[in-house]
Amino acid sequence: MKLYCLSGHPTLPCNVLKFKSTTVMLDCGLDTTSVLNFLPLPLVHSPRLSKLPGWVSKDGSLNLEKELKECAGRVFVDSQPEFCLPERELLDLSTIDVILISNYHCMMALPYITEHTGFTGTVYATEPTLQIGRLLMEELVNFMERVPKAQSATCWKNKEIQRMLPGPLKDAVDVWTWKRCYSMQEVNSALSKVQLVGYSQKVELFGAVQVSPLSSGYSLGSSNWIIQSHHEKVSYVSGSSLLTTHPQPMDQSSLKNSDVLILTGLTQMPTANPDGMLGEFCSNLAMTIRAGGNVLVPCYSSGVIYDLLECLYQFIESANLGTTPFYFISPVANSSLEFSQIFAEWLCHNKQTKVYLPEPPFPHAELIQTNKLKHYPSIHGDFSSEFRQPCVVFTGHPSLRFGDVVHFMELWGKSSLNTVIFTEPDFSYLDALAPYQPLAMKCVYCPIDTRLNFHQVSKLLKEVQPLHVVCPEQYTQPPLTQSHRSDLMLELQPPPMPYRRCSVLNLPFRRRYERVYILPELANSLVPSEVKPGVSVATVSAVLQSKDNKHTLQSVPKAPPVAPSKKRKRVMEEPPMTMAPKPLLSGAVPLEAFLATLQKHGITEVKVEETADGHILHLQAEDTLIQLEEDGTHIVCDNNEPLRATLRDLVLRFLQKL
């Protein structure tokens, strides 16, 4: 059993598990942090961005004015942003049989894997994962395509040149593998390969293994996966949450008794308590609005935004924010808000019960009805006529490199009355803000990450007790910035197996058993004999048929009739040669009784020697040796076949025949 690790990002994993005869990809997350090296894509012409000076090395020997721009001491690539893809050289992607998706954030690289690679397999995901994942992909494509940039910068990627660039560009890895965003056509093609599954539904893969998604409590339709054969069980834990938010709670008990548990997707903010952050978000928001400023919340169009809106729904009245407009701007804003209301079976119990009442599960419906929350596909069109300040705007992309958020950053960045509140933990907020410097607006970092923290995960692992744990190497040591916090790492016994990008791990357990079916008529013909109380054995002579990874023992076909009959001809394979099997022996030869028997048969001069494994009997008169050992008996007798046969028969008297 092997694990190929194609991504080193702990929360955007992409691993391939080779288990029995199957090749299963576990998630295909897309690391979008690479876009932080690029200049933002403004929706309307930005004089500030267009006037940024091009970069020339200090000694003037290197001039990349057209590709690289300088802003507040940092250098950015002036090109269509590119993403860092999962590793594609480690194994042949066309050999992947299935891809299991655990949540919509972990499928963003899907088109890169399924398209143009020869992939012919199936992708399994839950319905909300597929639908919301599609929205996020559509949004990403839309963000990129509506601000087309003809230029594609490549010179800076030259190894020699990159080495001379200032950081962090200099330190970016595998820049040659970075790719531009996929097209909508590729998205559609990739998503057409998805087959929907429900929680706890068992899916057979070629009869060899069974996979099954379990609720992971992180987002709508998010799942962990169980991959098991009859005798082995591998659990794949991706983004999971034990907090009571909108999704169905996490199914923990089904993870019990795993041989291997692959653990990914823990919180990226182990020291930030989501409740505290939510409170922080609300108080900063209220503080800004009261002072007459605007609030910008760069966020994804699905996920935490539902919780933010729910929290604000309760907070608006108490903070006297009733008249402040809330805008949600995204190409998929409408679909996202509406989809969330219809996935009743994927919601937490509390919200599920609301489905049976005349009220929607999420309170954002009420905010929309009362005109407190308005949503628009973009800043163009209706929004511009209805836009009122001070207001709160939720929009993407959280990297601040593309999407409508770029416009608001340009618009509001100059006033210290305004605040940008970061809630998504995926990007460093300081890096995100770098191309907007100098910035007067206030910046607040309230990352809300509801995924498991180290305390919760160690409790979970104690509960489910996997034999081995495999995890990203980041989880095996405290974070760099808090090296004294030994509680912010996994401490397990045996220690977890760490992986990094491009690791290939031999998972530390051996398959020892295989299930074989036996046909009833064959079973009927068996003659079991009891070797010890409660244990019976029988010999089986049969034909083993293996098909679709299922093994069946069938009766040995009888020899074909000598004369051809007139019955319909059947295609028969050549019957295997049948030989009467030798009887199997079991039991042990008791020394005293055996010596007595030998004496009865006239063999009296026996010298017994004790060895490590048993005894050696030296029949001195006959010059013969009998070795009695735990797992065998040998008679060493030269040129005296009758004696050997006699001795053999004497030994056999003490053994059971099957």
């Binding site: 020291t271 930030a272 308590n273 409170g279 108080s283 009245e317 108490s318 903070a319 808090q482 509680d487």
Partner: protein, 706 residues
């Protein structure tokens, strides 16, 4: 009414006699007993008032069929009657006394098993033990034996009452003996001279008690633990209550046993044992032998094997203000050890003798139970700061540094690391219990000499706490209190830079918008309290208010408080009204012209009085006007105040909340005081109050509504 009660009492007694065990509820009996007590205390004698009671008592005593509650009641009643010497004589003459207080009598009847009866017996006995006659009876009837047996009764109520009664017996012995020795007069014993026989009785009782205590204090097996704890509690109580000669006798009697008990190192007995030792120690002269032995015992406890026990012992020693300097100094060192280890700040010198303890505590700090140990350490810092500076193991400034570092380690958002014990960080980070204890310690440490130098550090840490999203509301409240305290004791705030101030302002502003009402409430309260902190000096050497230095003055706080008037939580609205009153009080005193803002506030407050659904806010609104009226040097010249008064008064008295009414009447009283300053009332209908010629206010016994 009493005479009516007395007249029906014989019939009541008759009913009680025949009621047997059918009485469903004994509260009526308790009430009856209360009434008897009042009669006994106020009238000449209970028997004189209710002569039928003796008959009732004797009938019940011979009637086993009575229910246990009736019997218990009768025993207590007998005690009440026998508390006076006359009553005692009557009871003795009709031989009821001996029978009623004879445990054998009740045991034979099979009633002693009932704790209800035992408690009646004890309380009756306790009531009767008021005079020498009773004590003689107690000694002659050898009641000390059953009373001692009841000291560790399985029923806690019985055991506790037995403890109290035993103390009563000893106190009585003591007071009677002193009469015997000194010949001084005692109210109870005016006509008595204490006979030789009686003195022997007393000493017999004391000997028995001493023997009993000596025997019972030693813990023979673990199953006797509750009994041992009870005995130690009894001993501590006795040592506190009885005077010198008797206390010395008791102490000498139990000393060996105490020494033996200390060596058992049983954690459950540490606290009661310490109570005993400290109770014994408190009144002894330094040079007496028992004192030296007690000091040795305390040293032994400070050298026990379990760090928790040692910490508790050290804390107890410090709290008891021991006169032994070495002992207190060692206790302070022990208590500071966890702080030293956790923070790595060298509070204790290297050559210390507590090396082994250091290892034990370090081990304990790696476990979750470290929280309680650190909290014990922090909560005893106030005691340590009270010690003379030459006895302190380190300068107080160092303790402040260590507490500040600990606070940083506890803060979730801090990236501070400790040069001390690393393992402890996982337990204390974000732990609000430790945070509160540390803040409490910091509060006390503000008084330490020479710590003004660290004001900036303190301010930074507190701002960090106020800013941290993970801070619990109670931690925020404590942080605000510490700010007030430190700012109050630091006459020079010139070290507060603009950057620090800006950070602090942001934190306060954010907390005023917190989602948790407790946080908003504490913030609003803080804004009010800050106004009352005395003036300080800035770097320009100008006298200025801390409010101005920290928050930029009223132009910052008033808008925040006005926002808080709209808060959905009534506590916050009430606090904001009070804080506004505190904030505006100086301008009222100065007679500064009203601003539009103040006029708006008055309008809002009137709205609160009319419309607020919660009493807290309305009460605060009335008090606001009272504060305004009191602070205003010339209320009549303040048109807005005078204009608002009728509305406030008419609305306030009509309020359904009695406290609003009360505060309105106080305002009215103030108004009348100002209107009629002359002490002699000029109007014929005025009611004079008892002392200061002020008009009475509602709530006073002789109140008069005006």
């Amino acid at each position: 009414m009493d005479s009516q009660c007395v007249s029906i009492l014989p019939r009541v007694c008759g009913v009680l006699l025949v009621s047997g065990s059918s009485l469903p509820d004994d509260t009526s009996l308790e009430k009856l007993l209360d009434w008897f007590t009042t009669v006994a205390q106020t009238g000449p004698s209970l028997l004189e008032a209710c002569p039928c009671l003796v008959d009732f008592v004797s009938k019940v005593a011979f009637n086993y069929a009575s229910g246990s509650s009736i019997l218990s009641f009768t025993l207590k009643l007998t005690g009440l009657i026998g508390a006076s010497e006359d009553g005692f004589k009557v009871l003795k003459e009709c031989s009821v006394l001996k029978l009623v207080f004879n445990p054998q009598h009740w045991q034979e009847a099979g009633l002693w098993e009932d704790p209800c009866l035992r408690i009646g017996w004890i309380q009756g006995l306790k009531m009767i033990l008021q005079h020498s006659e009773a004590l003689s009876f107690f000694a002659q009837a050898d009641l000390i034996e059953p009373l001692l047996q009841l000291q560790t009764d399985p029923s806690l109520f019985v055991a506790s009452a037995a403890n109290q009664t035993l103390a009563q017996v000893l106190l009585l012995c003591q007071s009677l003996s002193s009469v015997g020795h000194n010949g001084s007069k005692n109210r109870d014993l005016e006509h008595n001279s204490v006979s030789m026989e009686t003195t022997q009785n007393y000493s017999g009782i004391i000997t028995k008690v001493s023997e009993y205590l000596n025997k019972s204090v030693v813990l023979k097996e673990i199953s006797q633990l509750p009994g041992s704890q009870q005995i130690l509690r009894l001993l501590a109580m006795l040592l506190v209550r009885v005077g010198p000669p008797l206390r010395d006798t008791l102490l000498l009697a139990v000393m060996n046993s105490l020494e033996e008990l200390v060596t058992t190192s049983c954690s459950q007995l540490t606290v009661p044992l310490l109570d005993v030792i400290l109770a014994a120690n408190s009144g002894l002269r330094d040079d007496c032998v028992p004192k030296q032995r007690l000091i040795r015992l305390l040293w032994a406890m400070l050298n026990m094997k379990k760090p928790d026990d040692v910490m508790q012992a050290a804390a107890a020693v410090l709290r008891s203000h021991q006169s032994d300097p070495a002992l207190s100094a060692h206790s302070a060192r022990v208590l500071l050890l966890p702080l030293d280890i956790v923070t790595g700040v060298s509070l204790l010198d290297e050559n210390s003798t507590e090396g082994e303890l250091r290892i034990l505590i370090t081990e304990q700090l790696k476990r979750k139970s470290c929280i309680s140990m650190i909290c014990v350490c922090l909560s005893n810092i106030p005691q340590i700061t009270l010690m003379a500076s030459d006895r302190l193991p380190c300068p107080q400034r160092l303790i402040v540094t260590a507490v500040l570092l600990l606070l940083r380690l506890c803060c979730v958002d801090s990236s501070s690391s400790s040069p001390g014990c690393v393992e402890v960080v996982r337990f204390i980070t974000g732990n609000s219990k430790v945070q509160k204890c540390a803040l409490e310690a910091l509060l006390v440490l503000s008084k330490s000499p020479g710590v003004k130098m660290v004001l900036v550090e303190v301010f930074k840490v507190l701002t960090e706490y106020l800013n941290s999203p993970s801070s619990d509301p109670s931690v925020l409240q404590k942080s605000y209190q510490v700010v007030i305290k430190w700012v109050g004791v630091c006459p020079d705030l010139s070290c507060i830079t603009d950057q620090l101030r800006e950070g602090f302002i942001q934190a306060v502003r954010k907390r005023a918008c917190d989602t948790r009402w407790e946080a908003r409430d504490s913030t609003v309260e803080f804004l009010g309290h800050l106004v009352e902190v005395p003036s300080c000096w800035t770097f320009t050497e100008q006298e200025t208010e801390p409010l101005d230095v920290l928050l930029g003055g009223r132009r910052f706080t008033v808008p925040l408080l006005k926002e808080a008037l709209q808060d959905p939580e009534s506590y916050v609205r009430a606090s904001s009204i009070s804080a506004l009153a505190q904030t505006l009080a100086p301008s009222w005193q100065d007679g500064t012209a009203l601003t539009q803002e103040q006029e708006d506030i008055v309008a809002q407050l009137q709205e609160v009085l009319f419309q607020d659904s919660e009493g807290f806010a309305r009460r605060a609104a009335v008090k606001y006007f009272t504060a305004w009226f009191s602070a205003c040097s010339s209320p009549s010249s303040c048109w807005l105040l005078m204009q608002s008064m009728p509305t406030v008064l008419s609305q306030g008295v009509a309020d359904l909340d009695w406290e609003v009414k009360l505060h309105t009447l106080e305002l009215a009283e103030l108004l009348l005081d100002r209107a009629f300053p002359d002490p002699s009332p000029s109007h014929s209908y005025a009611v004079m109050s008892d002392q200061d010629h002020r008009l009475p206010i509602a709530g006073h016994p002789n109140s008069c509504c005006c």
